[in-house]
């Protein structure tokens, strides 16, 4: 169990984190829209997160913090 926090005001919904996650647990939130009009990402299954930080490594906005 790890914690993956996405800074929603920085996220631009590019999906690179989603693609990078080996556990396939990052999702873009099609319902939510941030101030700039993007569907932001979040970790859908923190319980399955292995804190590999692959998502953060690929995030161009440096919007992701990973804790364990």
């Amino acid at each position: 169990m790890a914690s993956v926090t996405v800074n929603e005001e920085l996220c631009k919904g590019c999906g690179l984190c989603v693609d990078a996650c080996p556990k396939n647990i990052m999702r873009l939130d099609s319902a939510k829209i941030n101030q700039k009009g993007y569907h932001t990402a979040h970790c859908a299954e923190p319980e399955n997160c292995i804190a590999c930080a692959f998502c953060a490594t690929m995030c161009p906005e440096v919007a992701i913090t990973v804790e364990k």
């Binding site: 690179l16 990078a20 692959f54 906005e61 440096v62 992701i64 913090t65």
Partner: protein, 246 residues
């Protein structure tokens, strides 16, 4: 809980202005982290280019100068000669470094200028809306090569690493990519190598980073990293062209 990954202090809190999925942001991060990890970040001096990274001075949390288009290596030379013990780097696009700024990068290299150029090659002029760059691939459609780059008419992509490696003043030259996690990590290592070589006064150092431009390539962020992998890497082979990997 322990922090596994967080934003380095060498980046400011300002949101970056890049398009969604543009890998400029990744490159900013690894440059900042590399500086930070070497302990030379706070006193580094960076030079921002004219190109999409024109606001880089807003993001790198150190002294920064904004250079005229293509002249970053000359500006960095001026800074480095005044501050020989500081880490001085340029961050330049392919239009900036490989087109208008050709003379400046070649001569910084041949002079063995003790600076590091971070060369972001996205095979296009991003900021001005997708014109052909000297690095544009043969056949690639851009707003000024509407029928695809015709090498007979307007020539071939410039292999900057290969070219600058022929110069005695260059100490460390490597080409990397940021299209997936593995390559991002390797890219960061390369950048660290280059900074370290600079601080050891070995000479001119440059890391060419293959990067995406989803907007002007007309692709989604995911398609863009795939296109980079499929098309750019064959045209621009990754590797160390000068110096020994640390």
């Amino acid at each position: 809980m322990a922090v596994v990954f967080e934003k380095t202090e060498l980046l400011t809190d300002l949101p970056m202005h890049y398009c969604p999925g543009c890998t400029h942001g990744i490159i900013h991060r690894i440059v900042a982290e590399a500086l930070d990890e070497l302990g030379i970040g706070k006193t580094a001096v960076g030079v921002a280019p004219v190109g999409c990274a024109v606001f880089a001075y807003d993001y790198f949390n150190c002294d920064m100068m904004e250079a005229a288009h293509g002249r970053a290596p000359a500006v960095a030379t001026g800074i480095k000669r005044v501050c020989p013990d500081k880490c001085v780097f340029t961050y330049q696009g392919d239009g900036d470094l490989a087109s208008i700024g050709t003379a400046e990068i070649v001569h910084a290299a041949t002079r063995g200028e003790k600076i590091t150029a971070i060369f972001v090659n996205n095979a296009i002029y991003g900021m001005t809306g997708g014109q052909m760059a000297p690095t544009t691939l043969p056949g690639q459609v851009t707003t000024t090569s509407p029928n695809g780059r015709d090498v007979e008419h307007c020539g071939y992509p410039v292999p900057m690493c290969e070219m600058l490696a022929t110069l005695s003043g260059s100490a460390y030259i490597q080409r990397v990519s940021v299209h997936d996690v593995k390559h991002v990590k390797a890219a960061k290592k390369a950048i660290k190598n280059a900074f370290a070589a600079q601080m050891e006064n070995k000479g001119f150092t440059m890391i060419e980073v293959l990067s995406t431009c989803p907007t002007n390539w007309g692709l989604s962020p995911l398609e863009a990293v795939q296109w980079l992998k499929d098309n750019m890497i064959p045209a621009y082979p990754l590797g160390v062209f000068k110096g020994a990997e640390a």
